[in-house]
């Protein structure tokens, strides 16, 4: 089977990954295995020194992280893959709706929600006077009982 080996510098949790340095190679599932869809092990016809230059792969219409490499022979390397479910199913994921509790955009997030991410230091004092601020003039008040 044909395997496309490549590289990505994007975080693993990013759905849309940019792939570079793609190259196609031939390979086969490791003999004696029941091939796994999630964590396949494939023997690829490339030297080990070439295999270490890749960290990502695409085959059978799916995307995979390279988890491990083992040199089998001078021109053969056994590579262990793990399915990148986010990139593989990114189209289907985006068709779903969800209840979210954190979002990068201020227009989606609510900045007035209390946020455990806040970090504060110290405090300072603001003072305000009211619009009717004035210097009052005192007066003496006499109260008496008696005839009016």
């Amino acid at each position: 089977m044909t395997i496309t080996l490549c590289n990505t510098a994007d975080p693993p949790k990013k759905l849309d990954k940019t792939l570079t340095g793609s190259a196609n190679y031939t390979g086969a599932f490791r003999s004696g295995d029941n091939p796994s869809d999630s964590d396949p092990v494939i023997v690829v016809n490339i030297p080990y020194a070439t295999a270490v230059s890749y960290n990502y792969a695409q085959f059978f219409g799916k995307s995979y992280f390279i988890r491990d490499r083992k040199a089998v022979s001078a021109n053969t390397t056994e590579i262990t893959f793990h399915k990148d479910v986010l990139s593989t199913f990114k189209v289907g994921i985006r068709t779903n709706s969800a209840l979210i509790d954190r979002q990068q955009s201020g227009s989606v997030g609510d900045v007035d929600l209390d946020d455990s991410a806040f970090v504060v230091k110290r405090s300072y004092l603001d003072t305000y006077t009211l619009s009717g601020y004035s210097t009052p003039s005192a007066t003496i008040v006499l109260g008496v009982t008696g005839t009016i």
Binding site: I93, Y133, T139
Partner: protein, 532 residues
């Protein structure tokens, strides 16, 4: 059945097409009023927002009444008072477009001369039309002022009686049709005029369910009307009472003249109050009268005054600084230093971004003080204190004043809250992460001394105006934390409509072609946070 409120927007009322407004109004036979009189109508609040217009139609003075609402974006800006005619001169500069009013149907089919009816409930202005025009030659609206008085038979510059209502929107329940009816109503009882016109087209209105009705603000109450003057106590205000003191101590006439003393008291017991009141400029002086002590007319005059007065210190809008949750509790604390009371805390969430005001109601006889703290004119908090400085007339009264101050000092803690910001932080029970950590950190910080024990003479030596103190935190959160953690959110979104860091709280995930293990892993990753 829930109470239903209606908010009605602009709706024209068309009377007869060719009728002169005056003749229409006067055509109502006074002895055969319409089926409904004014008592059946409820004049809707906000109806004065509708400006009735007198619409010029065809030629001459044929005017048809109609009513349009106000386009909030284009209020009639050219209304100005005219001292010569004691009314509003309404118009616009010739070079600007004719002022238009907002209408539901959006049509403006006639040349219009707008007029304003001031529905103050006390009086209304009339207007005079100073020029005529035609359909093809509209009125010179730069001077256009409608003389409604001539239509209603009122004298020029005459005021309409307070009970008169000009063109208000009203509604009533029509038993026959079992439906709410809306109508424009003109009611001039002084002229024997009442008329109404039901709105032909359906007005736009909103039905507001019970619980969603407009809020009714709780305003500062009026001062009491029953006071000590009804019990024979007279109050006087003056800068000094030296003449009276000289009279009492300097003549034998005073002692000889006092009769009907109570018990074994001295005549000076008739002096029930001799106080220094700090807000003298808020205490309105009445007419000057002779001071009577007991049955003695001292011949010394002084202005009288009421027992109660209101001192309005105005308001201030508490601005937001951080524009996020740090502006609110528990991060920000708002306190008000109240004269004669001390420092009191107000709920930050209520006042932030709103207008905070203080009004004192004072009793100059007893020194009783009631402080109303308002937010947007609605009372949210009431505090009590004592605002006078008792002036001694004798050693005994002086001792009493000193004891009162001492008692106030020991009870001062009840007048104000103590402690600084640390004690104000509400401990969030079971809070995970930052909120609880911040609360703990603030609790460990220093508190500071109180501003309390400020009743009586202590308060007279202190602040005479309220001061608002706002304790604000310094935000040390990284400016780009939203890239790594996202802003707090509580909403449902389509994941295809957002981008950037997103953390899902709950999702019913379905993806074509994904196994159950795939779905479990995808959901776990979404709940940790992914970059869409």
């Amino acid at each position: 059945m829930p109470t239903i409120y209606h908010k009605v927007y602009a709706m024209p009322w068309w009377s007869g097409q060719s009728l002169n407004w005056g003749s229409y109004a006067l055509s109502i036979p006074l002895d055969a009023p319409p089926a409904r009189d004014g008592s059946d109508f409820t004049f809707l609040s906000g109806a004065t927002n509708f400006f009735p217009m007198v619409q010029q139609q065809r030629t001459g003075m044929q005017l048809t009444s109609c009513v349009f609402g106000i386009d909030p974006a284009n209020p009639p800006a050219n209304v100005q008072s005219d001292s010569n005619v004691s009314g509003f001169r309404f118009g616009h500069p010739a070079e600007t477009p004719r002022l238009s009013a907002y209408r539901v149907d959006g049509e403006m089919s006639y040349n219009q001369v707008q007029c304003v009816y001031v529905m103050s409930g006390t009086w209304s202005y009339g207007f005079s039309l100073q020029a005529t025009g035609s359909y093809d030659s509209p009125l010179a609206v730069t001077t256009g002022v409608i003389e409604v008085q001539s239509f209603l038979g009122l004298a020029f510059n005459n005021f309409i009686a307070p009970s008169d209502v000009i063109l208000c929107l009203a509604d009533w329940w029509d038993d026959e049709r079992q439906t709410q009816q809306f109508a424009w109503v003109i009611s001039v009882p002084s002229m024997g005029i009442f008329d109404y016109a039901t709105i032909g087209a359906h007005p736009y209105f909103e039905v507001v369910e019970e619980g969603d009705e407009p809020e009714v603000p709780i305003l500062v109450p009026d001062l009491p009307t029953l006071d000590a003057s009804s019990a024979g106590v007279s109050l006087y205000k003056a800068g000094n009472f030296n003449a009276l003191i000289n009279y009492m101590w300097g003549t034998q006439d005073f002692l000889n003249a006092i009769e009907h003393l109570l018990g074994d008291e001295t005549p000076y017991e008739c002096i029930v109050a001799f106080n220094l009141f700090p807000y003298g400029n808020s205490l309105t002086a009445g007419s000057s009268e002779n001071i009577h002590i007991g049955n003695v007319n001292t011949g010394i005059s002084a202005p009288t005054c009421n027992q109660f007065c209101a001192v309005d210190f105005g308001s201030v809008t508490i601005p937001r600084v951080h524009n996020n949750a740090l502006d609110f509790a528990p991060y920000t604390v708002v306190e008000v230093q109240l004269p004669f009371i001390g420092r009191v805390r107000v709920p930050t969430d209520f006042v932030m971004g709103h207008s905070l005001g203080v009004v004192y109601h004072c009793d100059v006889l007893t020194g009783g003080l009631c402080a109303f703290i308002t937010v947007d004119s609605s009372v949210i908090q009431v505090e009590g204190g004592s605002c006078i400085c008792t002036l001694p007339l004798s050693a005994r009264t002086g001792d009493g004043a000193r004891q009162a101050i001492s008692s106030a000092a020991s009870a001062g803690i009840s007048f104000a809250t103590a402690g600084g910001m640390s004690s104000k932080v509400a401990q969030v029970g079971g809070a995970a992460g930052g909120i609880g950590q911040i609360a703990d950190a603030l609790a460990a910080k220093d508190s500071y001394s109180t501003f309390s024990n400020l009743a009586l003479a202590n308060g007279y030596l202190g602040f005479s105006n309220p001061v608002v103190y706002v304790h604000r935190p310094v935000n040390a959160t990284a400016s780009d934390y939203n890239v790594y953690q996202g802003y707090a959110a509580s909403t449902s979104v389509s994941l295809g409509s957002v981008s950037g860091f997103t953390r899902v709280k709950e999702i019913n995930l379905g993806v074509s072609g994904a196994t159950r293990e795939d779905l479990n892993e995808i959901e776990a990753l979404l709940k940790e946070g992914v970059i869409l």
